[in-house]
Symmetry: C2
Subunit: 190 residues, 2 copies
């Protein structure tokens, strides 16, 4: 199985009006995404936020579940938080993956919007089976990652769409679906 | 496409020690599951809790996003909450589906634990393509649905599993993955 890393970015992301902003951390993004990442064999989940006060909050939550009575009470939560790293910038994520895996990651950006030259799930699953990576999957908060992140990526992955026109999954749900499509064992559609 | 309904049960569910309890509502279960349900074309999302104070909380959140400035500020959230119904018991859900769809639902229970005679995703996807339903997918909170709910169901669906031994998705993530496997357009694994 290939080496997969995941990062959730709080900057540079768009707000509702299409401007580039920094978003606040949603506490459930820590829990739900750490649990999904560990379930699908992701090596590390980077929470990326440029604001020191926000990183402090995330670190406090991470520590809470990793030690003391809370860790004993819920060991599966402790295990999930063990893959979480709180960092300031995307550049740090890429450097950390390069150091850990010994090679620069193939960067895959996810998006809920159509993008020219976006790659499909079956194709990417095949690539990941053939190339052990490291692979780095990027997810955005707010109204999605800024264009510059997509332009610098190796691949942009097609949006997840349902049968109808409504397409507003939470980032927590999108992470789970995308990890399942790319990394679930057996044939897709099992 | 078949008629699909979804219910999230807060009773009868297990706690950490395997006893049957009533759980409290997690606010993100309202938002994330409503958004995923609408994305995948689910007709109605029933939040089931026997405690009046808990139902009042859920109704207040639902109203908040459906009217006034919050509905104008985030119309996609308003749309998601339009399919939410807060009810007391599973029997009410079944009666409501029967009334709306004109027929009793085929009840499918989801679980994170192995179950004898559990059905697979590909098989159920085929059934749902052949029989327009109504279908009712049940999800549990806490440490999962009590045995009695599984025993009374028409089908129990195989757990979602990743490549490793860790298998602790949040119910929000599990709903998203299961809806994607059963209801995403095109061939599975697209």
């Amino acid at each position: 199985m290939s080496d997969v890393y995941l990062a959730l970015l709080h900057w540079p992301v768009l707000n509702k009006d299409g401007r580039v902003v920094t978003t606040a951390i949603t506490c459930f993004d820590l829990h739900d995404i750490a649990r999904a990442a560990l379930t699908y064999g992701v090596r590390r989940y980077f929470l990326v936020n440029p604001l020191p006060s926000q990183r402090k909050l995330a670190e406090r939550i991470t520590r809470y579940w990793q030690s003391g009575p809370s860790a004993d009470w819920n060991p599966t939560r402790r295990d999930a938080f063990q893959i979480v790293r709180v960092v300031e910038r995307l550049e740090e994520v890429i450097a950390a993956v390069r150091e850990e895996a010994g090679e620069a990651p193939r960067v895959v950006v996810t998006t809920a919007r159509p993008w020219p030259r976006a790659v499909g799930y079956e194709w990417l699953r095949g690539q990941m089976a053939a190339d052990e990576g490291p692979w780095l999957l990027l997810f955005g908060t707010g109204w999605g990652l800024a264009e510059e992140v997509k332009e610098q990526a190796d691949y942009v992955l097609e949006p997840v769409v349902g049968p109808g026109a409504y397409n507003h999954l939470s980032v927590r749900a999108a992470v789970a679906v995308i990890l399942d499509r790319l990394l679930a064992p057996g044939a897709p559609g099992r």
